[in-house]
Symmetry: C2
Subunit: 300 residues, 2 copies
């Protein structure tokens, strides 16, 4: 195995990804576990990390650059938020004391916004990675997820951003509401998605009525579960696009994500005539961690 030069970590609420990086920032090793921030007390992070990447360490101290919820108040160590507008690339990493001398841990801070109140932890690293790979790019970055983020970037700064609970609402409605009997667990009907999206963009306020209507149509007209699922997604993303219009209208948009949810955003934006590029999350995260690691070198 090529030697690991430093380690990049994306430590979320429910899981943990680690990449062993070569001196030229290529991936030479990769590991993941479900030891997410939400499962660990502050004193548990070091052991969880060693469990996962202990085999990559040598005799000397190795840099570990961490982004995500591990930097929250309930995480390993709090990395205070930077406030927008701020440089996409950070040079204010939070160092964590470890018992094991082979680790030199640095946590990337999240980003906050006072008005409207908003926060991100992890997505700022994906944005920094995208800008490291696309210097001078101005436009809007959309990061689909449980709490989808829209960020306006200009002159390599995050100017403003906005989070939407759309993904979490979809999961709650599909799995825990009365619609759980109506909505299929998977499957996709792009025509049903498009129709619901258009309807919702044109009249976003009708969301709660549209949702009940899915249930009623299942009772009265045997609405298909895949159609219901696609309509639910279209209705929710339509409301979000209606509100996020100031972000995407007349802009070039980079969607960071390659899963089914991101595909739905790309389809929805393309349908509005928006020029969209789609990028892999992990690649952007690693590029962002590498950009942060350059500063570690400068500081230590």
């Amino acid at each position: 195995m090529t030697e690991v030069n430093w380690i990049g970590v994306d430590w979320g609420t429910s899981n943990l990804r680690a990449w062993g990086m070569g001196a030229d920032n290529t991936v030479v090793a990769e590991a993941r576990s479900d030891a997410g921030m939400g499962t660990l007390p502050p004193e548990g992070f070091e052991a969880a990390l060693i469990d996962l990447v202990g085999g990559w360490l040598g005799a000397g101290a190795m840099d570990v650059v961490v982004c995500g919820m591990a930097g929250s108040r309930q995480g390993w160590a709090e990395a205070p938020y930077r406030a927008v507008p701020c440089a996409a690339k950070t040079d204010t990493l939070t160092q964590v004391q470890t018992s094991d001398p082979r680790l030199r841990v640095h946590i990337v801070p999240g980003v906050k916004q006072a008005q409207p109140a908003d926060v991100m932890r992890g997505e700022e690293t994906q944005i920094a990675g995208f800008l490291a790979l696309n210097p001078k790019w101005d436009g809007v970055i959309c990061l689909p997820g449980t709490h989808t983020k829209w960020a306006l970037v200009s002159a390599e700064e995050i100017v403003s951003f906005q989070s939407f609970m759309t993904g979490e609402m979809f999961a709650l409605l599909a799995k825990q509401s009365i619609l759980r009997h109506t909505v299929a667990a998977d499957g996709w009907d792009s025509g049903a998605f498009d129709e619901a999206l258009d309807d919702s963009l044109a009249n976003p306020a009708r969301l709660a009525a549209r949702l009940f209507s899915l249930r009623a149509e299942a009772l009265l007209a045997e609405l298909d579960g895949v159609t219901a699922r696609s309509r639910l997604s279209g209705a929710l993303i339509g409301v979000e696009l209606a509100a996020a219009r100031p972000y995407w209208l007349g802009q070039q948009v980079a969607v960071i994500g390659a899963d089914a949810l991101s595909d739905a955003y790309v389809a929805a934006l393309s349908r509005q005539g928006v020029q969209v590029v789609q990028l892999d999350v992990d690649a952007m995260t690693r590029a962002g961690l590498a950009a942060a690691h350059e500063n570690v070198g400068a500081v230590t």
Copy 2:
């Protein structure tokens, strides 16, 4: 105890209310249990009813008039929906065969609408009760609940109606989403409610962003839990009022419900200059069951 002449039952998904009614339709006995439709197989309903009201029965057969989910396909016996437009008062009760000869059970049918697809079971009885007490009343009836209904009534008919999943969304978001740490279990701030209501009515599409903002404000500015709860309610009801505007604008509105949720709807509608009357659900249900019972007398 004054003699029970007939029995009225509101049999919902999660509980069961029964009233022993005198010959003049006054309440002479009252009972409730948690043997809701959702907890019973079809063959369990008769025993559950006898458990609750057996003591009210005499030697002869007694009429029992039932509304609510007991009439659904998964209930005691399916009482097929009537389709709008239809008379508020029904004369098409579904009779149920019982083993116990002391029972003569009749189920009130629900009401359906083909386009947009919609259904109600139980609320039609409250509407019929309101119209029995207020003959010739034309206007809009709002029935707040898990799935709030808005119904246009004219010439003693239900002309059209629309259900909104607003109440269920509130419960899911307050108790099961990331906002569960942010939103208090009770308490009320009418100023915060009004502000969120106005904001949401003016720009309903921003719902999912407003929700995440509550979480962010709790992290960044120690947003109070009662304020968050009132804002969540105002934001959701504001979106509903924006969509239901064709129902309430320029209409007189009767809100059937006297709980905190109904109070919030009354406050929100009054704030829009709507003339609102507020009525007790149980009284409307009993009046609706009594109106249905008159037809039983005519049929048997």
